[in-house]
């Protein structure tokens, strides 16, 4: 029951974040949403995710506040009301149709299909020696995934450095 209340709180925070006009308030509402998600992970018995989400949300807030603060931004109205709303509604209805068909094939809430994971749980301790099964999965059974993740993170860091650097910028901006 408390999970539904928390999810309703998250939906409320998301609506506030989307609809409010002041950008700083909007970013703070996103912070409330992320902290609610951290609590939801804790209720769903995932303490690793709760710690990571809590810490990541703080850093994400700092970065987003950096993007919005100290800029006297005019309020941006949403133009072309009919066309934009119609296309948005079209996409959302399309998503809901597919979600309706997918919902019937999903396992019931609280009874997961654990074909692979049961194997991991049974053999995790003797094969890896780690008592945290999640750490055993991400670093031993599925090390490839983590290697790929490290590559993606490296690429993102390189992307940020390439976008924000000063060297060679004058030339390119004069050419465009």
């Amino acid at each position: 029951m408390e999970l539904q209340i928390l999810l309703l709180f998250m939906i409320f925070a998301a609506i506030v974040a989307v609809q409010i006009e002041d950008l700083l308030s909007s970013v703070i509402a996103v912070g409330a949403l992320g902290l609610g998600l951290s609590l939801a992970f804790l209720i769903l018995k995932a303490p690793d995710l709760a710690i990571t989400q809590l810490v990541v949300e703080i850093l994400c807030l700092i970065i987003l506040i950096r993007a919005t603060i100290n800029k006297d931004l005019p309020v941006i109205r949403d133009g072309r009301w009919f066309f934009n709303t119609a296309s948005t509604l079209l996409f959302i209805i399309l998503f809901l149709i597919f979600a309706y068909f997918a919902l019937q094939e999903l396992p019931r809430f609280g009874q997961p299909i654990m074909r692979v994971a049961q194997n991991y749980i049974n053999q995790g301790l003797e094969k890896t020696g780690a008592t945290n099964i999640v750490a055993a999965i991400i670093l031993d059974f599925r090390g490839y995934d983590t290697l790929g993740e490290a590559t993606v993170l490296f690429t993102a860091v390189m992307g940020v450095l390439a976008v924000m650097r000063r060297v060679g910028r004058k030339k390119s901006s004069s050419m465009v």
């Binding site: 939906i11 692979v116 993102a156």
Partner: protein, 112 residues
């Protein structure tokens, strides 16, 4: 079932924000909401009622654990999401510096 439906509602709010808003910061926020919804959906699928966290305890054998596999996938996804958000913010700051606005319809020179 109601948990799944609420999670879909969260996804729809993010989709509305991405498609409808014209402010770049609002679009970044919408992408973040979508990412949260997807992470939450993965963990919801792996949940088992009356169960324990996937961490063994000393001296007792735990039989009913939640599914640890979606948790392992989501754990990497959260950190990637932060890096991707930082990348989009960097591009947004560049656009603000060049055009002086966050309005995507005002950025004329991007249209070929």
């Amino acid at each position: 079932m109601s948990e799944y439906i609420l999670c879909f509602a969260l996804f729809c709010i993010g989709l509305y924000c991405v498609l409808r808003k014209r402010n770049i910061i609002k679009i970044i926020i919408g992408l973040g909401i979508i990412e949260y919804a997807v992470n939450l959906f993965f963990v919801l699928i792996g949940y088992r009622t009356h169960s324990r966290a996937p961490i063994l305890a000393k001296g007792q054998s735990i039989l009913n654990m939640v599914d640890p596999l979606p948790q392992a996938l989501v754990l990497t996804s959260i950190v990637i999401g932060l890096a991707v958000t930082a990348l989009i913010v960097a591009i947004a700051i560049r656009i603000y510096e060049k055009y002086g606005t966050f309005d995507i319809t005002k950025i004329r020179r991007l249209k070929g």
